[in-house]
Symmetry: C2
Subunit: 378 residues, 2 copies
């Protein structure tokens, strides 16, 4: 029997899924234990020169109503119409694998419940860290651990800019322009630069690790646009790299504190050596102490690799993977206000720059009225 | 229904499995989707003060013949009697999860076949890289990739010694003595120092990635006992860290070349920043480019975390995981002789030390008759 799957969207990621699948079809089928093929590619545009032009459709119902299609790769991006399409597929028992972080961060709980109700799977390895295996390791390999914290560099664009600033003394503006020139940043770079992209990813990780849906609106998010070259140089001379860190920790009061903000990372923490467009995620647990996952967080084939890995896994599962789920949340009372985020702080004011000796809360550090105030990742 | 499992061996790892399981029982059962309990602990010794003393047995047949036991954690180490016990369990349809790298490296093909024949699973995440998720990510998350190379620091003892040499100018002998004092090295440190431990791990990875059983005897293995402080200092001044690297690559002729030897790692390769007892593995594939996994490669709870993660996964699978398998090998004709291992080389002779401009084979470099001759990891 041959398993047929559909790819929704033929943009960068969707076309990468089709390309990588046909490149490695033989070994993929060996790993899946079954023959596989792409039956449909959904896109409103025409691709008359594609070698797969016979597979294109503009009508989602062709896919939804075809019982031979048992798995779907969603690579459209954005909440709608992706949400409507994905939910409809799951309700027909078709497993869906997605690269769409906005969809998972906003609607993950609903889609996981739909998958469970219809004995299929909603997978989203590609939505966090691109090529880097992180979702499956978190809920499978580390399942025996009490995980207390996750922190990482989850946006490649901002990491590229910060690396150029401290390795090559570029200003923020010049580094951003270079990132745009190289295709690492969009024309409108807001979602990357202001931290919204990293925020969606830490929402997904927080929901998976702590079991309740964390919405982007509940997470304090600060980007890197206020980071000056002075701050980066000062930090370097004190033994720290400035990185945009998305993090979540569980506090002693049982609440969790997710946040996205620039932080100073000591050079003896391996995260400080993660440069250019690379991403990395560290996980702290009582069994493992600390593990780190590192790789390319974006790009056509890296993201396609993660989507396809999920598709292959989904055709092997006839039941819902229980450990990859979380509950809906009615409120955000389980989330600690960022005012109580505590750390040592880098302070720059009229008397110079320094790292505070003592741990202070975000509220206390902000009250100092310094020109620049950045927490240290311990 | 409550799932009952048994733990074979109550040494460092086996006692860690029991300890971590009871510490996190509630969250583990939530992730497994079922109640779970340890029914037996097999050990020839007496543990009269253990809180679990009622669970101990000295008779393996108590476990084998108890149909209520559906999963087993093997933490005894060594090939026998572990092999006999594990095979018998699999032949009764009991899934086995092991931390025993020697067992997997010598008998993995046989045990995987036994698991397949009896619709259960033989899992071994803990056998490579301790706490670090690597086996499951390799065959699941990266399943869409054509993997061309894997390289890593797979032995914490030797990495600790090398780190002390280049960070603190310690001699090899002093660093080894310190490792023994801290419990990182055994009284007889041969298996670590001479690379045998890393060799078993790269055999397991090579077998999984390339699909045929690679035996330790087929893998060129050189340890760190000949590395002098001079070499480490010279390498550092040229921008390299000396690391014991276990690697495997697929060559253009279709053969694979696994090897364990000290290598010079450039400081801009993130592997060079992996210090002390930490391990790390990089994977090169056509979709992902390069990913890295990092963490504690040994120790009671880190290894127990990996074993328990497998046990939790095994109670959820009612069929054999197809992608985690390889074939037996009748000969080693698919393995390229180490004489053809090609790299740039660090050379130290009477005229000083240098890195060769051109790539040479192992045979060519050895023929130079230098006092020291170490390949560069690119």
């Amino acid at each position: 029997m041959s398993v047929k799957f559909a790819v929704l969207g033929h943009g960068v990621v969707g076309s990468g899924v089709v390309e990588l699948f046909y490149k490695n079809k033989e070994s993929i089928e060996k790993r899946a234990g079954t023959e596989m093929d792409v039956k449909y590619i959904l896109d409103l545009r025409d691709f008359p020169d594609s070698p797969y032009k016979d597979k294109f459709t503009k009508d989602f119902n062709d896919i939804l109503n075809d019982d031979e299609v048992t798995a779907v790769a969603e690579c459209m991006g954005g909440v709608e119409p992706a949400f409507t399409f994905v939910k409809a597929c799951l309700e027909r028992g078709k497993s869906v694998s997605t690269s769409n972080k906005e969809l998972v961060a906003e609607k993950g709980d609903i889609l996981l419940a739909a998958a469970k109700a219809h004995s299929c799977n909603f997978f989203f390895e590609a939505s966090v860290g691109g090529a880097i295996p992180i979702i499956r390791p978190l809920h499978k390999c580390l399942a025996a651990n009490d995980i207390s914290a996750v922190a990482g560099i989850l946006n490649g664009t901002t990491n590229f800019i910060l690396t150029k600033m401290y390795k090559e003394n570029m200003s923020f503006g010049d580094a951003l322009a270079l990132a745009q020139q190289l295709g690492y940043a969009e024309k409108d770079p807001t979602a990357d630069i202001e931290g919204h992209d990293a925020c969606r990813k830490i929402c997904i990780i927080s929901s998976l690790v702590f079991g309740k849906h964390v919405y982007p609106k509940s997470v304090f998010t600060k980007g890197i646009s206020e980071i000056s070259l002075d701050d980066v140089k000062n930090a370097d001379s004190m033994g720290f790299a400035v990185k945009l860190i998305a993090s979540v920790r569980r506090l002693d009061n049982g609440k969790i504190l997710p946040a996205v903000m620039p932080m100073l990372v000591p050079y003896d923490n391996i995260i400080s050596n993660v440069n250019d467009v690379f991403n990395a995620v560290t996980v702290d647990g009582d069994g493992i102490d600390k593990v780190m996952f590192y790789g390319r967080g974006a790009g056509k084939l890296p993201t396609a690799s993660a989507v396809l890995g999920d598709v292959i896994d989904s055709v092997k599962h006839s039941v819902t993977v229980f450990s990859q789920s979380w509950e809906s949340s009615d409120d955000d009372k389980f989330i600690e206000p960022v005012a109580n985020f505590s750390a040592r702080w880098y302070i720059r004011d009229s008397s110079g720059s320094r790292i505070t000796d003592k741990v202070m809360t975000f509220a206390e550090a902000s009250a100092l009225g310094a020109d620049s105030c950045i927490p240290v990742l311990e």
